[in-house]
Symmetry: D3
Subunit: 323 residues, 6 copies
Amino acid sequence: MSSNFFQPVDASAVPRFAGLSTFMRLPAVASAVGLDIALVGIPWDGGTTNRAGARHGPREIRNQSSLMRRAHHVSGVEPFSIANVADVGDLSVNPINLMDGLKRIEDGIADIVAAGAIPLAAGGDHLTTLPVLRAVAKDRPVGMVHFDAHSDTNDRYFGDNPYTHGTPFRRAIEEGLLDPKRVVQIGIRGSIYEPGEHDWAVAQGIRIIYMEEFVRRGAAGVMEEARAIAGTGPTYVTFDIDCIDPSMAPGTGTPELGGFTTREAQEMVRLLDGLDIVGADVVEVAPPFDLGGMTALAGATMMFELLCVLAKSVQEARAREIR
Amino acid sequence: MSSNFFQPVDASAVPRFAGLSTFMRLPAVASAVGLDIALVGIPWDGGTTNRAGARHGPREIRNQSSLMRRAHHVSGVEPFSIANVADVGDLSVNPINLMDGLKRIEDGIADIVAAGAIPLAAGGDHLTTLPVLRAVAKDRPVGMVHFDAHSDTNDRYFGDNPYTHGTPFRRAIEEGLLDPKRVVQIGIRGSIYEPGEHDWAVAQGIRIIYMEEFVRRGAAGVMEEARAIAGTGPTYVTFDIDCIDPSMAPGTGTPELGGFTTREAQEMVRLLDGLDIVGADVVEVAPPFDLGGMTALAGATMMFELLCVLAKSVQEARAREIR
Amino acid sequence: MSSNFFQPVDASAVPRFAGLSTFMRLPAVASAVGLDIALVGIPWDGGTTNRAGARHGPREIRNQSSLMRRAHHVSGVEPFSIANVADVGDLSVNPINLMDGLKRIEDGIADIVAAGAIPLAAGGDHLTTLPVLRAVAKDRPVGMVHFDAHSDTNDRYFGDNPYTHGTPFRRAIEEGLLDPKRVVQIGIRGSIYEPGEHDWAVAQGIRIIYMEEFVRRGAAGVMEEARAIAGTGPTYVTFDIDCIDPSMAPGTGTPELGGFTTREAQEMVRLLDGLDIVGADVVEVAPPFDLGGMTALAGATMMFELLCVLAKSVQEARAREIR
Amino acid sequence: MSSNFFQPVDASAVPRFAGLSTFMRLPAVASAVGLDIALVGIPWDGGTTNRAGARHGPREIRNQSSLMRRAHHVSGVEPFSIANVADVGDLSVNPINLMDGLKRIEDGIADIVAAGAIPLAAGGDHLTTLPVLRAVAKDRPVGMVHFDAHSDTNDRYFGDNPYTHGTPFRRAIEEGLLDPKRVVQIGIRGSIYEPGEHDWAVAQGIRIIYMEEFVRRGAAGVMEEARAIAGTGPTYVTFDIDCIDPSMAPGTGTPELGGFTTREAQEMVRLLDGLDIVGADVVEVAPPFDLGGMTALAGATMMFELLCVLAKSVQEARAREIR
Amino acid sequence: MSSNFFQPVDASAVPRFAGLSTFMRLPAVASAVGLDIALVGIPWDGGTTNRAGARHGPREIRNQSSLMRRAHHVSGVEPFSIANVADVGDLSVNPINLMDGLKRIEDGIADIVAAGAIPLAAGGDHLTTLPVLRAVAKDRPVGMVHFDAHSDTNDRYFGDNPYTHGTPFRRAIEEGLLDPKRVVQIGIRGSIYEPGEHDWAVAQGIRIIYMEEFVRRGAAGVMEEARAIAGTGPTYVTFDIDCIDPSMAPGTGTPELGGFTTREAQEMVRLLDGLDIVGADVVEVAPPFDLGGMTALAGATMMFELLCVLAKSVQEARAREIR
Amino acid sequence: MSSNFFQPVDASAVPRFAGLSTFMRLPAVASAVGLDIALVGIPWDGGTTNRAGARHGPREIRNQSSLMRRAHHVSGVEPFSIANVADVGDLSVNPINLMDGLKRIEDGIADIVAAGAIPLAAGGDHLTTLPVLRAVAKDRPVGMVHFDAHSDTNDRYFGDNPYTHGTPFRRAIEEGLLDPKRVVQIGIRGSIYEPGEHDWAVAQGIRIIYMEEFVRRGAAGVMEEARAIAGTGPTYVTFDIDCIDPSMAPGTGTPELGGFTTREAQEMVRLLDGLDIVGADVVEVAPPFDLGGMTALAGATMMFELLCVLAKSVQEARAREIR
């Protein structure tokens, strides 16, 4: 079966700097049909309130993902052997029209979902997750494991504007896309607009694990709770690169000191194992503010970590179907 | 009379790196009332189709403008002695709502115009010039001297979107803000979408002086024609930093090889002397793509060059009134 | 009462990149009169023995401080509601005359102290702390909590020069500005000139906590001791950014591998709570050696952390006075 | 006829930052069969004696070539309408085995030539031109127009090593690939190993036009002579990016002050019109030493300039065949 | 005795930025005769499969090593008082001929060994360690403590090429230079080519301590085992800078997320104390990819840490001889 | 005779990145005795009023000077064959004591002069030229050819401070070191403190050639006049790197738009041929503000250009003596 799966170019045969730049050196395909997991770029930052640049994220994440190899050194998972994965390119976007931009992203992800593939997206700013959820959670609310420095559940900006990268999850809850009781936010930190900034989110049932709680409990403890919150239902995973400390991921729009190390982030993502993940993304990689591709490399590596978890989940689902 | 004019901080008394950062180290004032010339920032790039970042332009132009001194070494003009000039801060902007953004800019410039001051703006992308013209040319169309690599008279982008930094002057002509027969574009170059890309502009009466013609004729010849085209009527001057070669102004959204040297640009702006300038701007300085502040320094210096021409124009107008 | 306090510009109303750049987007005021806490820049690096550039620190710290918001997410402190805080600009400096430079800084801080405000300064190199102490500790020696990679208690450089950024605290003790028995230095590390380099400091009574001791004991343990050393008397807090690891704060003159993470630094500063802090500074941010503003952001964030502690201290002092 | 030609993605429909990165946003194809002109990357710098990095050239040139549009603003040429052009990807290379690397490049270009397409290559260091010539000039020596700061006709390096980026054209003449009397080198400058360094080249019949002669005569005069030297026979064009001044093209291995401006380089390439060009390349773009993509943008633009000349040549050849 | 040892320039007398740049500001000497420890550069990256640049490592490590002082703040070791140490310059290399490059390095190190000095080398890519071992282990296999993200025991690349920076230790074992049962690799991590990638190494007897095991056990536990593995026999120490996290050492060819902090690396190297070290190196510092000299500073500091351990070992050996 | 002259390392034998970094890869010698021309670094920026960093100039100029070869491609001069040239290292400096700094530089240059060598210095800021002149012109005033954006003849800064990099030539004239009637300043431009800023200089007899006059007349005309002004007497040449346009030399303290191209600067320096040059310098290269070493490369190349002129002058003087 796996003999027909797409395979990445092997860096011991073709050097990493050679060839067209695709996610993890996989083939670029025109459609998600036949894929288990579709790697997709969403080059859009229409919701960014401060430093734009996440529109350039997918291209640089592709470049840095040339450093990924075929197997995970801890779990032993070989994602490309147990799932059919390819690069479906970038979604069509509109950098100057917010509402059209949201529509295009929703449509693009809907095509992937309709093809039976799980989207693993490279953003884009965090507002991109809203239209992704509109496609992925169209039929029922999903749970969410959310790694971030910010809760992104604010209400309005610059007057009465409801759609920014600071508001996607308030909108998603209002639209019934998320089941807030199955949502956990991990790594929240940094100065806030007002002491009650997170009250609305908490009142909806979201569990916020601040950075300080993470430091006390560690990855294993936190992720045990996170998995319990997400439960066995369909779950989305969103990884805002600014959850990582700015020294390790400087290329982002709203850096906050005191974040996760990449080691901590990797450990947490590995502990997502066993969830029923229906989609995932890595967002807010903003190359114009990056240094030496460090943030894009972190983004690419986190995509690989997510991919290994997703691929194993696909394999297990397939095994269940066969039984 | 001049004893009441605002003066910049003197760098031989207070070093350039000290003190709050304002345009040319002038006082920051809350309103344009009482000013002859209002230096104003427009930190907005809502119309950018490729690389955003001009929203950060005003801050970096202010930083680099600390290198300006009090007098022009060629013309001998002392702008701060013959005109009242200050930094009126940044206009209120909206980074995520294009139509609201346009409105806020128009309102902000209208306030300056109503106060009797001439706006000298630091953008912002080139779409910012459209709402500036709506305020400056509200009562009658104006002429325009336009330094740029691009004509910016395209029609629609990404479907049916009329407002981008590639379309401001088509809109301005349609809205009756510009008299196309009094418009000259200098420095146009680079690959184009189609051979007829500039036909509409030429048909309206705009005179396009391509870079190659400039190379043949030189600054003096070109500017003699430009002054003749603009004539004696009210004229706006817009300076897109990408008219300068990318090696000298890399920090911009749409670089095109083969541009003006800064020496050529300075010579041309000095030859604007004698026009009736009702407003001016320097746009498309995009700090996230800048190198060592080089582009912001070019922007700040071109603002100083424009200021010297404007101040002399103010002085002459005042002299005429007194007579 | 708090209704008259200065408030920062709200980033959900005006984007962070807009407006003049001041500390934490607070108003710029001409004098410290009426303030509880004066944020002040000291753009001077006249004592730097290796890589200069801290003279540019205040400007970049101001830029990056636009990312600060109104409330502390752990302590819940809202500094701008419980204390009157503003940006009093930069002190007058002299970059080419060391003795005049020291005098100007002392005078500038003396004005702030005379106005009844507590100075929270952004340096500048570490020699700036000496004239600050001359103003703050004019009437009696103070204790000091000192975060740094270096003890800065050397004696002479380049022959017989007593004033450099490697000597301020030796001079301060000699001048009776510091009570060495109430001084603790935390984070000291890196190769040293000779094994006995710190003997003088220890002989005076200074407690040096090397990085390796910190790693063993953790922030809570170390800070418990630090608070005990500082005691209930008036205490100065000086935060040399090079106490943080160079990977997180590369923009400094004398980087030393193996420093604090920002998370550790934040935890320690939060544990200053309860001290009687009469002044504080963040020094040695050198933007010409910074990468992507990372160090200036660390400096700005540490200033915010210090501000929250200071504001609470002001609030408590006011409460005591009222009783 | 042209309706079947490949077309680039239109930037007014899909933003330049979106989509996979190919040369000029053309389709990526698996073979040169059916193409008139094959854009090909040669990511190899095995012959570099100082600063390596040209191996990364093709990827960054592709990225920057997203700024190219469909038509040439001076000649009016629409290359994609008059010739079938596509991106055939990168040649297979070997970064650690020089002789195998040379063989792979020769084989790869031979495939393109066999398919009937003209190769327009993005290097790679200048040694890559030797195996390209082995494929292109297999059957008869060719003439060459060579833009460069260096003659690249040295003999041996580091002992007795014949193949480096300083020796390709000595080897090519020895191998009978170049007709030295039809070779012109333009822009040569910089300090030399010894006064007679170029004697061998001149003795073979190569015409060297030093930078100083270019400055005196100008592009038109120099190119008239260059066209006469190349004559009507098959001619290769090689454009070493270091012919351009390092301020405009810093990302290269052996920068030499005092080079061409990009404006001059563009003018010269446009004057290649009418030659029988059988292949061309842009080499020595070394992204690790580039600043803001400036050099890669220059490389991409020079490729576009070369492409317009090539396409017109293809069109004229086709017209001749039809007649 | 120590009065005749070479001493570094004192930074409190001559500033760090002044004077020729040598390792740790030591004298440059023409030969290793009379030295206990020879600091030597190996500017060669002929085995690099992806991003070259380690050829520039020695120069930048020298520059950054100007920040080192005379004594170790933890161990109290004064290396320059207990061992004669100097900078013997760079080995002769050949950047375009792999086999000649290997030969030149072996010969250069053999000269140092013949002079009775221990080489402490600054690479260069990791393939440089193979010819170093050929010189150091000529007479008998040695043990090795190996800090790295990669095992570097692969077999062939790009066809049948046996010598790359991914293969040195497979070759070294095959050549009998290493006793694999006395080899420990610490910090291995990152995606791998295939699940069995390390099987060959393990089968030889190499002990691989993955990063995750290090995180669980800590430096003390891991190094206790490492010392036991290396035992009392002659041991080589090789420190690949990519064992450190890319955020702290970005300037390297094959970065892998999730590495050691510099604090952890320093702690481990200090725990090498007591081994019989016959040579050591710091490799894979690639300045073209570095940020602000951060990686070269890490490399220089790790060299200083290794030097302190080596010098103490020299001192103890001398003491044993005297007895 | 020339057989005993020092020779640079040959880049076709030893790659440019290898070996200790000295000026033009010449031997480092301890004293100027026996030299005709002494290349010397002056790592000092104690007079800098804005952006410091020229203290790091000599090190980076040395690094970039590795790109220089043995012969001049236009004049054919082989400087190392006709004059004995070596790197005498850096002068002893004091970064924190201005008056001691001036003294040390004067003493250091006096030693070179006493040894009978001509100093060719790499600064350092422009104040370094004052103590150099004190040594070189001790016995009689000299003429000077001065390339610069600024006249550097101001009087006082920051109160009553007479010594800054804006004042050296006022002091030099007051001290009788310069004969103002034999001084020409070329390239002066940029905004000025007041219209009469240069009146004092002109009144002394200095000839100022502004950039605009240079543009009109060209290098040949300007240099003919410059040679006439300097005449046959002893002449010093000082080359402030900021005379070159900031796009070509961004790494400097006080950049001014519209400067010389490097091509123009090279042409002018070549036309110094025939003067009796008693010393020369290249100053104001400030690496912390440089981009990619571009400015240091310009500085190194201008040193090479100056060296060729100096060496020929030495050769001719020797010929005269022999006759």
